[in-house]
């Protein structure tokens, strides 16, 4: 009996590490795979993705039951690498693991016959390993380490195409994220000199600090927020995101939905809730700054999206705006708004990845890159366009799609917290969202298709495009519907977000 208890204890110490390694090790092998060994590379990719999914399944069940999963590695005296799974990390880990599997399938189809695939998939795996590390980080040092590795692993993906545009986009990406990384690092070191190792604890760890240090804590928050805000694309630190849409479609999905901007938004939640503590952050006046920044970003991003003709560029600005909802939800004091922000972490991910998959399909199948070229695509590619429509309507916030749930909770939470002005932001943003998505849907479904598509590519087979490209957006679009319709079911993102909020507020 005690033996099996010991065994399960040591296993629970290994699980978070195993989840990170399950994509890291296959990724390292992929670099060594010869370019033409298509099959071996795909097997390694899918093996890693599925293994990770299984491990995450075990993790979800354990965390739900209150089991503690923690892997520790002492780097040097006083500096520890800690991987710790709490409810919040599980939310992010699950999101990126599920979407990674789907994106891998999509990427295998998308990159067929294109050069440098071993390099691509190697970095792709490193990227998701770093994301999972960010999600599972149990202290600030570990978070910073994985956050920086994520920056580094994403660079080759953005630069992948090798065109002058791609090189330029990657350079801009790097300039923004590394500068942000330095700011985050300074903030983290500074905080550590004040408090010792900064572990993430639900409810925060700083509320007991003496008043004389409050000034420094505000300065540190500014540094941390500047570092995290770059990846989360908060205005005015968002400049890299529209530039890096030159990357291939699977990378855009990774940047916008699975990994990069999510790591930033997740970090903001971590800092506000598990380092400062939401009540303490409010008493320092930090929440209102964050709320103002988030609102500005929501409106500005939507406005810019309205002005873009390039489909991916429009989607990129839409991400700028939508990710700020997460920060907005996090910055309103009260569990209901928190739930709204947290659940949007997942909802934005599944909706945006759907949209990017579809944009990739239009580009690969028809050569359509601009909104103005999208007349009648619904007739040529009905399934893709259906998925696109679900994602777009969800972004606007039409029930019963997932996006509606997020907006509802954020609005409700704002009213409960007595911050009615948030409703104005939500209303304005919804109008703008409708303004940039509905014309696309109108063109796609109701305008007649042109005689010739810009660059049509006939794949043969039964479907409107290659199967590996078609199924991923259909599955994610279905997830958007399910997350909205079954929001009250056990283990839905909403239920899980409520679990987190309860633990954060100690309810």
């Amino acid at each position: 009996m005690s033996d099996s208890l010991l065994l399960s204890e040591s296993l629970s110490g290994l699980l978070p590490g195993a989840i990170v390694l399950s994509s890291l090790l296959p990724g390292l092998f992929i670099f060594l795979v010869r370019e033409e060994s298509h099959r071996l590379r795909s097997i390694l990719n899918l093996f890693g993705a599925i293994l990770k999914l299984v491990l995450v399944g075990v993790l979800i069940w354990g965390v739900y039951l209150g089991q503690v999963y923690e892997s520790r590695l002492t780097i040097a005296p006083g500096l520890e690498l800690v991987l710790h799974a709490d409810a919040l990390s599980v939310l992010f880990v699950t999101l990126s693991t599920v979407l990674w599997l789907i994106t891998t399938v999509y990427a295998i189809g998308y990159l067929e016959h294109s050069p440098n695939r071993s390099r691509f998939f190697g970095f792709f795996s490193l990227c998701v390993s770093a994301t999972v590390g960010v999600a599972l980080a149990g202290n600030l040092l570990t978070f910073v380490i994985f956050y920086e590795i994520l920056t580094l692993a994403t660079y080759p993906l953005v630069a992948h195409r090798g065109t002058p545009d791609a090189t330029r986009g990657a350079k801009i990406y790097l300039a923004y994220t590394l500068t942000g990384g330095v700011s985050l690092l300074i903030g983290a070191v500074w905080l550590r000199t004040l408090t010792g190792p900064v572990d993430f604890v639900a409810g925060g760890v700083l509320s007991g600090m003496p008043t004389s240090l409050h000034g420094q804590l505000i300065g540190i928050f500014a540094l941390l927020l500047a570092g995290l805000g770059v990846k989360a694309a908060l205005v005015p630190l968002h400049g890299w995101l529209p530039q890096s849409m030159v990357a291939p479609a699977p990378v855009s999905s990774l940047l916008h939905a699975v990994a990069v901007v999510k790591a930033g938004a997740f970090g903001i939640i971590r800092v506000v809730y598990d380092v400062y503590g939401v009540t303490f952050a409010d008493s320092l006046g930090l929440l209102s700054v964050l709320a103002a920044l988030a609102s500005l970003t929501i409106i500005y991003g939507s406005y810019q999206a309205l002005r873009q003709d390039g489909l991916k560029k429009r989607l990129a600005y839409s991400t700028v705006s939508q990710v700020a909802y997460i920060a907005l939800g996090a910055s309103i004091l009260g569990p209901v708004a928190t739930v709204g922000g947290l659940v949007h972490l997942v909802h934005q991910g599944i909706m945006k990845i759907t949209l990017f998959f579809c944009a990739g399909n239009y580009a690969e199948t028809l050569g359509v890159h601009q909104v103005s070229e999208m007349d009648g695509v619904g007739k040529r590619m009905p399934w893709t366009t259906l998925a696109f429509s679900i994602g777009a309507l969800g972004m606007i916030g039409i029930p019963p799609i997932a996006g509606f749930i997020s907006k509802w909770y954020i609005g409700l939470g704002a009213v409960q917290a007595g911050q009615q002005w948030v409703l104005l932001v939500l209303a304005a943003s919804t109008l703008l969202n409708a303004g940039y998505f509905l014309p696309i849907l109108y063109r796609a479904w109701f305008r007649p298709p042109p005689a010739d598509w810009p660059k049509e590519h006939v794949f043969g087979g039964r479907f409107e495009t290659m199967g590996a490209l078609l199924w991923p957006p259909i599955i994610t679009a279905a997830l958007c519907l399910i997350a909205g319709l079954l929001a009250a079911a056990p283990f839905s993102p909403l239920e899980w977000a409520e679990l987190i909020a309860q633990r954060e507020y100690g309810l």
Binding site: E35, P77, I145, F146, L178, W190
Partner: protein, 494 residues
């Protein structure tokens, strides 16, 4: 028994150097290397490294080792000693040297270069080991001189006009440096009648004018050899024009040896003498080196020149620790800083060697090393570019490299002792380093055809990749043993 290892650490490479000379055969007026030459070199390299590994293990288990050569005790005889600090530096230096030797067997295509390379290289190795093990100041001087001579000769190996003139300058500067150092030693010897470091440390208590002058002279001489800004002028041309394995050794090991001596003298000998102001001078020079070296690296047109200027910058980082060490009283926080500076020196040793070895491959493949024209070549050598990327990420200080951990502790120490000015220096150094490294890396993402396999030439690429990997991952994730080896308080400086 294990104390005898100290003698072997110097004797084995010395013997190897002699053997390498003996293998030369003469045909008429022409000297030719025997096919055995590479094997003599490699076997010596392996044996020396094994000796050092056993020695490090012995220091790990038993603490410091000491050997009186010929049974003559202090103050008359020559003594060797290995404590944690020297063991750590030796382990790094010998692993780097082993990797470099392996690489050299694949790198030198011409008979002539290999012929002269091996004897000089093994001589340099012996001098390096001797320097890290020397227990008295005069012995140190001898080793320092020997190191300088071997290094300058190796640097001029290509025989090109640039290489010869740069290394002649290197030789003269090195002589000036060691003479200045010797002057300081002479002052101490007249004052105290001994040159054994541990004896001197016992008697040097009250700071007087002699001690102060000796400190200034010895530090200045060594700073010249360590290429501390503004005494770095000789380094970039000398390091950039040498053959790749030599550049790696010069940048990774030889300047590090001079730095090691400064660190050792300041920690052990001059601790009572050195004022905070003096350490501040070193710190400020270090800061200037970080900014100036990184800036010049960013502007460099050639890959190896970039790497050489990056060495100037990285040496600067090491000197940033001095004002922090001076401002921190002995205790866990002080230990933390000592370990951090050693960790940074070790990481830089591995990283810079990896970078130079990889740069040499790119240069060999392309026939030049002009960064703007490297695109196609870089893309054809995935493993080499990977080595550059890993080494580069340690130079930038990105996690999980060893220098990330050091930089974290550096900034922590700066904040704890209220020396805020170090933060912007470290931050700008990081960003500039990122800019110059990615200036190279971005060339590898072009439209050239896909390479078919990851590794092209295992004998040269694997050593470069391994050294870079040690710096970028192993040292960062498993830095803990360094604290144990240095015999420092493992409690951490929270």
């Amino acid at each position: 028994m294990s104390a005898e290892l100290l003698a072997f650490a110097v004797a084995v490479p010395l013997l190897g150097a002699m053997l390498a000379v003996v293998t030369v055969t003469r045909q008429g007026s022409e000297t030719r290397a025997s096919p055995l030459l590479n094997w003599v070199g490699l076997i010596t390299a392996t044996l020396t490294t094994l000796v050092i590994i056993f020695m490090t293990g012995a220091v790990w288990q038993q603490g410091p080792l000491r050997l009186e050569l010929g049974g003559w005790g202090v103050p008359l005889g020559i003594a060797l000693r290995a404590d944690g600090l020297s063991a750590a530096m030796l382990a790094m230096a010998n692993l780097v040297a082993l990797g470099t030797s392996l690489y050299a067997t694949g790198y030198f295509r011409s008979n002539d270069e290999a012929l002269h390379f091996w004897p000089l290289w093994l001589l340099l190795w012996a001098a390096l080991n001797g320097l890290f093990l020397a227990a008295d100041l005069f012995n140190l001087y001898v080793m320092l001189e020997l190191l300088g001579l071997a290094a300058a000769a190796l640097g001029a190996l290509t025989g090109s006009r640039d290489a010869v003139s740069a290394n002649l300058r290197y030789l003269l500067v090195g002589l000036l440096g060691s003479m200045t150092y010797l002057l300081g030693v002479a002052l101490l010897y007249t004052a105290y009648g001994t040159m054994d470091m541990s004896l001197l440390a016992d008697v040097m208590r009250a700071p007087g004018p002699t001690d102060g002058t000796a400190l200034v002279l010895m530090t200045a001489g060594l700073a010249l050899k360590a290429a501390l800004f503004p005494l770095h002028f000789w380094l970039p041309p000398a390091h950039a024009n040498a053959p790749a394995p030599v550049s790696a050794a010069l940048s990774a090991l030889v300047v590090k040896a001079a730095f090691y001596l400064i660190l050792r003298l300041w920690l052990e000998l001059f601790a009572p003498v050195a004022t905070f102001g003096a350490s501040m001078v070193l710190g400020l020079l270090g800061a200037s080196a970080v900014v100036w070296g990184s800036w010049r690296a960013l502007r460099a047109e050639r890959l190896k020149l970039l790497a050489a200027y990056s060495t100037v910058a990285q040496i600067g980082y090491l000197f940033l620790f001095f004002p922090l060490l001076a401002a921190t009283p002995p205790g866990p926080a002080h230990d933390q800083l000592v370990a951090a500076v050693v960790l940074m020196a070790l990481t830089h040793g591995f990283a810079k060697a990896g970078l130079f070895l990889a740069a040499g491959l790119v240069q060999q493949q392309a026939g030049h090393d002009r960064i703007n024209e490297l695109g196609g070549t870089a893309q054809h050598l995935p493993a080499t570019v990977f080595a550059i990327a890993l080494a580069g990420s340690s130079l930038i200080g990105l996690p999980p490299s060893g220098s990330f951990i050091s930089k974290w502790l550096l900034m922590q120490g700066a904040l704890e002792t209220g020396q805020w000015w170090i933060i912007p220096v470290a931050a700008s150094g990081t960003l500039l380093a990122a800019a110059y490294i990615f200036r190279v890396l971005s060339r590898a993402f072009g439209l050239e055809p896909t390479p078919l396999r990851f590794v092209t030439d295992a004998r040269t690429e694997v050593p470069a990749l391994t050294l870079a990997l040690i710096s970028a991952a192993a040292l960062g994730l498993a830095a803990g043993p360094l604290w144990t080896l240095l015999g420092l308080d493992a409690g951490g400086g929270a």
